[in-house]
């Protein structure tokens, strides 16, 4: 936690131009999303291949409510979170009865449906061409410029890390890890496992929605591809590469996979290949992910 705070505080000294700020801001936003997703996948052991859908719903809630109805951005963001929370709650009950491949398929289907809806309902969403989103503002002050976005994102990431670490280090966090480790053991110990599965699913969806709203305002333009299957996979890959059940792994995973396209910008079309290769190599050589593997090495040394 302190290390992350130090990195966030010190980083501006090393960022030569707005382009680098932009990359770091995107890393921060992805990290917030991935911390939430890691609670679901890494800690509670429930896969989701559709979470980009929730991210997109948050983004579109902000885009539509601020752009068309003139809502204050913070209210639109809150409405998006509430709406996504309710949707996730309704979906979670039937979906989380499933396990393994079935759960993966159901969440995949959920993401695809969201993608289709966002593409088809073009009178609201602008269809495949996307829509522009007004700048973020609070109390009449507009948030603009990479530096300001940097500090806001940094502060929100710290908040997300703090909240997530608190959850993990609590009876709720133990219940989540226990239902991952042995569902029957958790049940006979008094853990209402379906309640906790729904809880973490909703929590991660709400975090996704909030991140989506932020991204929409920051980038200023959204298209349905935010909710694409590929984006969901990308987010899951961040969890896996950084490390399942590792909060700081989420930040590392987000950093690596957000920088990847930048590093490979000279090799058009190579991104996907590199992306697949990283996922495969992680699964083969570090199935626990980067941060837990390195932490174990350090402890042994």
């Amino acid at each position: 936690m302190l290390v992350t705070a130090a990195v966030i505080l010190a980083l501006p000294l090393f960022l030569p131009n707005p382009f680098y700020y932009d990359v770091v801001i995107r890393i921060g936003m992805n990290a917030i999303m991935v911390v939430g997703l890691n609670l679901l996948i890494g800690y509670a052991g429930q896969i989701s291949l559709g979470h980009a859908g929730f991210l997109a719903l948050g983004a579109y809630a902000s885009g539509i409510l601020t752009g068309r109805y003139g809502w204050p951005p913070i209210a639109a963001m809150a409405a998006g979170m509430a709406g996504v929370g309710i949707l996730a709650y309704v979906l979670a009950r039937p979906i989380l009865k499933l396990k393994g491949h079935y759960l993966a398929m159901a969440t995949l289907g959920m993401g695809i449906i969201i993608f289709i809806v966002l593409t088809q309902e073009s009178q609201w969403t602008g269809g495949p061409d996307g829509m522009s989103v007004p700048a973020f503002s609070l109390l009449g002050r507009e948030l603009s410029g990479e530096k300001n976005w940097y500090w806001v994102t940094g502060a929100l990431l710290m908040l997300a890390l703090w909240l997530a670490l608190n959850v993990i280090d609590s009876p709720v966090g133990r219940a989540l890890r226990a239902l991952h480790g042995s569902e029957v053991a958790a049940q006979v110990a008094g853990v209402d496992t379906s309640h906790f599965k729904v809880l973490v699913f909703v929590l991660s969806a709400v975090i996704a929605s909030a991140t989506g709203s932020l991204m929409a305002h920051y980038i200023g333009f959204i298209t349905p591809t935010v909710s694409s299957f590929f984006h969901s996979i990308e987010l899951v890959t961040m969890v896996v590469v950084g490390g399942m059940a590792s909060i700081f792994g989420s930040v590392v995973g987000a950093a690596i996979l957000t920088m990847l396209p930048q590093l490979l910008s000279g090799f058009e079309g190579f991104e996907l290949v590199a992306f697949g290769a990283i996922l495969m190599l992680t699964m083969i050589f570090m199935p626990r992910g980067l941060v837990p593997t390195l932490a174990a090495k350090l402890r042994r040394a």
Binding site: P171, A189, G190, L203
Partner: protein, 252 residues
């Protein structure tokens, strides 16, 4: 009044009649053993009592309340706790956290206080952590307080499950073959542990193959054979029961 009462219980899996027309009751404060050859239906019986399986027929009462087919976490709330024949350990957690899962119901389980790290919750959580460490010492795995569950040997894991079950402060504790796979010394230690637990006021239902252990500590023994009750009584009565001698002890 009986703490646990089972009435006309049946469990059918496809063609297998795992438990048939079984009735018995367990008095509070006793050690009640269930014995029978492999496949007799003992684990199935435990799974029905603890809500993991829904009985095909019959009823289960806990402290006089009908609890048939209630979900396991509700039964835990009513004071039921158990261990498993095939270990159910969370290997993604530390040994101590495994035990603390047992105290789940005694802590505030809501998200908001957890997320905001409310001091009251933190305090209760730390107190539970200390109690869990004490429990690990009590069951004889004190040396693993700082270990991950995945670093512990089989015998220690069996005790860790008992510690987790005790962390719930149960009224009724069901132990499914706690001494299976243990050597003589370890079995003797488990024997003493079960007696200590029973002395502390917990009612114990015990499934165990080790006859010396069962005959020595049980107040009451139920013998199952192919899912049916073959005999019931004190250790002495069971030892002398001709049906048991023929069917179970193989005439020995």
């Amino acid at each position: 009044m009986a703490l646990l009462e089972v009435r006309d219980l049946d469990m059918v899996f496809g063609g297998v009649h795992a438990v048939q027309n079984l009735s018995f009751s367990v008095r509070p404060g006793t050690i009640h053993s269930v014995i029978g050859p492999n496949g007799a239906g003992k684990t199935t019986l435990f799974n029905m009592i603890t809500g993991l399986y829904k009985p095909t027929r019959g009823a289960i009462y806990l402290g006089g309340d009908a609890v048939t087919a209630k979900p396991p976490h509700e039964l835990a709330r009513k004071g039921m706790s158990r261990t498993f024949q095939n270990l159910q350990i969370c290997f993604n957690m530390s040994a101590l956290d495994n035990v603390m899962v047992g105290s789940h119901l005694r802590l505030n389980q809501r998200l908001m206080p957890a997320m905001l790290r409310l001091p009251k919750l933190k305090k209760a959580d730390s107190a539970c952590r200390e109690q869990a460490a004490e429990l690990m010492k009590f069951v004889g795995v004190g040396q693993y307080v700082k270990a991950d569950a995945s670093q512990m040997p089989y015998g220690a894991l069996k005790r860790l499950e008992i510690a987790r079950a005790l962390a719930a402060k149960p009224k009724l504790l069901l132990l499914d073959e706690p001494a299976a796979g243990l050597n003589n010394t370890e079995t003797k230690e488990i024997d003493e542990l079960i007696q200590k637990v029973a002395h502390s006021g917990v009612t114990v239902v015990l499934v165990e193959h080790d006859m010396k252990l069962v005959m020595g500590i049980s107040d009451h023994i139920l013998v199952l054979d192919y899912g049916k009750k073959l005999a019931e009584g004190t250790a002495e009565e069971i030892r002398r029961n001709p049906d048991v001698i023929v069917a179970y002890l193989g005439g020995a």
